[in-house]
Assembly symmetry: C2
Homo-oligomer: 305 residues x 2
């Protein structure tokens, strides 16, 4: 079995570069291979950038999922942050940290998962870095663009806004709890871009740490409280039924969009048509100290440390 140490840093970079089309797209002026990537931004657009680490033993376990699935989930998690800003994706940078004894096939499958998922969502891998480390990890940077001053933000919520969420929640957490992860969410990039044009749009965030945790972040940023009706939170299908409520509330890695709309804005049915996705109204924002009301005691979200 070949290991990373058999091909070396540049051998590994070369093999990763081969996973990427030679002409990744008209917006990529300089791709993999120079000191930095160069990407075109349209007139009147701002740059949107986000970085996310995905560490073995913390964010993924290779005894619970394939390297490819882990890589796909890493890419989706990072692109989801672009979606939450309403950005159109431009490109992805990949900083891989790899123990020297790692099987080459493992690293390449991991990278293949990342590059494949990124390409699928219109975000070519345009550069990166490879370093030796004690544990496998990928730090991804997603780059996007948004019409100037029009980014969706988590601090734009107001008391009175209705709260909506796309899709259904809890499937990733359900699989994790069962010890076998196969599900890979989808970054809601198109929905995010369409949300920017919705009349009365308030705040927006993606559900990555769990609905209650991320709603808490939205509340803190917007300086409002939230009240949700747990029974209305859309739960993903599982074993012929639905996932438990607590996983839908606190599971995390759902990568759906959670957003608020002013009282005069559209309702769930109109939003569903506009976004091309299931949209459910789950509660509202209220005046008061930043916290989430109406939930059973307990559900937190994923926490490091």
């Amino acid at each position: 079995m070949r290991r990373v140490s058999d091909v070396g840093e540049f051998g590994l970079i070369e093999r990763i570069a081969r996973l990427v089309p030679r002409r990744p797209g008209p917006g990529v002026r300089v791709g993999i291979g120079d000191d930095a990537a160069v990407l075109g931004v349209r007139r009147g657009e701002d740059l949107v950038a986000t970085t996310d680490a995905f560490v073995a033993g913390v964010h993924f376990r290779l005894d619970q999922e394939t390297p490819r699935t882990a890589g796909r989930r890493a890419a989706v998690g990072c692109l989801s942050d672009l979606a939450a800003m309403g950005a159109r994706p431009l490109g992805l940078l990949l900083a891989l940290a790899v123990p020297a004894r790692t099987p080459l096939a493992t690293v390449l499958d991991f990278a293949r998962g990342i590059a494949g998922e990124a390409a699928r969502h219109g975000t070519p891998l345009v550069g990166g870095n490879v370093a030796r480390a004690r544990e496998l990890s990928a730090t991804l940077t997603a780059l996007g663009a948004v019409a100037r001053g029009r980014a969706l933000r988590r601090d734009r919520g107001r008391a009175g806004d209705r709260l909506f969420v796309t899709g259904a929640l809890g499937r990733s957490a359900f699989e994790r709890a069962r010890g076998s992860v196969r599900h890979v969410g989808a970054p809601r990039l198109r929905a995010g871009q369409r949300l920017r044009g919705v009349r009365g749009i308030g705040a927006c965030i993606d559900v990555s740490d769990g609905l209650v945790a991320d709603l808490g972040q939205l509340c803190r940023a917007s300086r409002v409280a939230a009240r949700i009706e747990p029974a209305r939170v859309p739960r993903a299908a599982a074993r012929g039924g639905r996932v438990p409520e607590r996983l839908a509330l606190a599971g995390g890695e759902d990568y759906e969009l959670l957003f608020s709309v002013r009282p005069a804005g559209p309702g769930a049915a109109a939003l569903r048509r506009r976004l091309g996705l299931p949209v459910t109204e789950i509660g509202r924002l209220e005046a008061g100290p930043a916290r989430v009301r109406g939930i059973p005691a307990g559900p937190g979200g994923f926490r490091h440390f």
Copy 2:
């Protein structure tokens, strides 16, 4: 002694955010605290982006330098890639990976080194990520902008070009060899931007892995050979003399700019005035397979794996 686990993920993020001015600059539309940063790009500019990992035990050793020096060097190494593209800096993203038992002061000094050096070079820290990991590391993403189609590139060298390098080389390697690192280079951001306007500019790369190794990369990208005169390579001062030639050739982490200029372009004296830095002619590009000629056998560069 307080440890990272005592303040938790959000406590750590909050403390890092406090290292950054609340109003980081007019180009930063959304800074730390949302799903992604939003940065303004001027009309007619392309986006430049680069990512770099800086791992404990690989890129730095806390028994040889302070966390602050390590952080400063991490920032300089990443910004140097922007300099090599001729970009003006826009912002920096920081993905910190931290063992839970790490002293809080160590992590904050490390982050202070990064944020301080970035701010000093006009690159505010605009976002990032904190994750638990088995070893301390920082993965930095530097974002910049460059006039459309005008980025400096390593693949623009031609046979006949003269080769130049800024500053003097070998000081970082000299200190590393002695087991005490204090020197922090400077990313040549202003020089890189000025180089873009130099008549007859060819290829450009920064010296991060060592002069010979990086020149090899320039040759491979440009499909030319290079011939240097080792005696002309400017060596940094050390102990009343100069660092050994092999450290200037192969040491790395110099963060000077190595570039080529067409025969009809300016010479070292004019370039010195233009860039406001010492500039030395060290050889030329020649037709032939990509390799560096004229050097004593041996000097490689830093290699992972």
